[in-house]
Symmetry: C2
Subunit: 114 residues, 2 copies
């Protein structure tokens, strides 16, 4: 048997950060483009834009910087804060998984017996 978990962060009772949004931020970081990030996640541009916009609206600090124009037609990159929240979310998630696996293994009876 295996214990599984999902974590997410709410702000003012609204979803701020979860697994899906973190994936999206990571893909924007990788591709430097909202539309390329959306495509790689099989998501519409509009959906990706809305998710990023929801995050920005709830965020204390900007998550993205848009560079307009240039040879490549502009790019979107993550701010230092944007990169920090990815790291912290993933760190929290790993800690949570480790904690649960240990708790589950050391539990003497019932569900985790086998």
């Amino acid at each position: 048997m295996e214990i599984k978990s999902r974590i997410w962060i709410e702000k003012e009772g609204k979803p701020f950060l979860g697994f899906g949004k973190i994936q999206l931020l990571k893909m924007v970081d990788q591709t430097r483009s909202i539309s390329a990030a959306a495509k790689s996640l099989n998501m519409s541009y509009k959906k990706a834009w809305n998710l990023l916009n929801d995050m920005e609206e709830l965020s204390e600090q900007p998550l993205l910087v848009k560079h307009i124009g240039g040879k490549s037609g502009g790019s979107t990159v993550l701010t230092a804060y944007g990169k920090t929240i990815i790291k912290e979310f993933e760190h929290l998630n790993t800690k949570c998984e480790t904690f649960l696996n240990n708790e589950f293994k050391t539990s003497a009876h019932g569900v985790s017996e086998s």
Copy 2:
């Protein structure tokens, strides 16, 4: 900001126990009836029966005992093991929540700053 979580247990790669199934087991325990439990959770009898059946199939030990007949037309009660897994699941869930809240509070930067 608040950190939220959901835990569930898989067995042989299949969902064995999660929040919804635990609610259902608790309602069966309370009402001594699959149909009353289903009704109180706005669930069809068939859906409740299937969920309980899936659990029983993956469980090491029986979760329910059916008492047929009698004045009240029979009842369904939880085995000691069924009651144990509810307790253990909820205990794990509470431990996970406490752990995450502490981690989130003591994290110095980024997402948990405010």
